[in-house]
Amino acid sequence: MVSEVREPTYLVLTALAAGPLHGYGIIKEVSSITQGKVTIRTGSLYGTIDRLVQEGLVQADSEEVVEGRLRRYYSLTVEGTALLTSHATQMASVSKEALRRLRVSPGMA
């Protein structure tokens, strides 16, 4: 059975999989991952980040000031990486099976 991870959680964890990102970086990355279909708004993003930090899936990594603006970077924790790996593997397995069945079903050739 596929583990239960809500869509905003999955997208933010996926965005952070390649390395630490700041808030706006996560927003851009999520938009890029979903080919522009999903845009996370700032208020929603910080609601999700607060929750993920509290659950121990994401952590504040570092800070920098660029053009007078504070950027705080976030990264996956060990638990966050494990959850994302497990969920992504299960999703890939189900998707592969769905495609296999579609190819062999009658009338689809």
């Binding site: 809500r6 959680t9 927003i27 208020g43 929603s44 910080y46 609601g47």
Partner: protein
Amino acid sequence: MTPLERRYGRLLSLYPKDYRAERGAEIMSTVLGTSQPEQLWPHPKEAVPLVGHALRMRFGLAESQPIGRLLVAIGPAQLILASLISVMSFLGAEWNPWWGRHVLPGGQVGPFQTTGFIAYVSWTAAGLALLFKNPKVTRRLVVLSMSITAVLVPFSRALSLDRPIPSLLAFLFVLGLPILVSSPQSLKGSVSDRLQKVLIAMSLLVAIAIALALLPVWNGSTVHQFSRGSYGLSPSILFYRTDLVFVATWLLWIDAAAIAVSAMLFFIGRRLLAGSVALSGLPLLVLWFGFRYLWFGFGYNDSTAHLLVGVVLVASSVALVCLSMLFPKEQAMERAR
């Protein structure tokens, strides 16, 4: 400071002071990153979620806060309960062709007994949207249903039409509150969550229990003398006459059972689930007290024992919710991700 920055700054001032001190500069940086170079005013698509998050943080309703987690956990279950009650009310009390010979005198609305059908249809649609996993539509329909429910009494009065009993409307309104105040994000994928499946199952059981409790009234076998006479015996007495207040004592026992389950869950360490179950039961008590007081007035005192039980149950529910917030540590990360 640019005009846009100043305007976003005003919105950020809605956050609680501590949170703003810790995260304000970072959030400002992010929200300015999403804006266009010549932009002067916050875009509504950014401003609305920002204000929503700020207010949820201020009132302790964000998902990172204990009460917010409880609301997210019980929201879908309570919406399902509201939908089931709406379907029951629509079929049992509103649809005249079904119960035609018992039509009440007064201002009916087409084939319906009261204006209540408008709210019932809307709540049912919201429940269906949730089951079909459409979070955006679900939330919009909940807002619509709550708005209709809130204005139904004055609307009916203005047009001289019959209305359903206000305590039922108040109950439906309360059931919608958790989804209204929770983050829109929280509904995404929430139906598949294990905890919520448990709560939805509980709501179904409660709805079935209420239906069973009402069966004697539907059959007309335990109708109180107050409702005999010109109105006759019909399902419509459910929402007009006094009988429900007597059978509604069932609600107390159902809630007592929920609190017993909640207490057990608390002591075995499933604290968030315990708090959610206790909080889920509170609307039942609202309904019970609503039937008592909105119908009879505060001077009504037919059964001190029941009143005492009701007060004890409210106190127990609140205590369990508070305990689960004060001691939120759980054995497993049970809650929705």
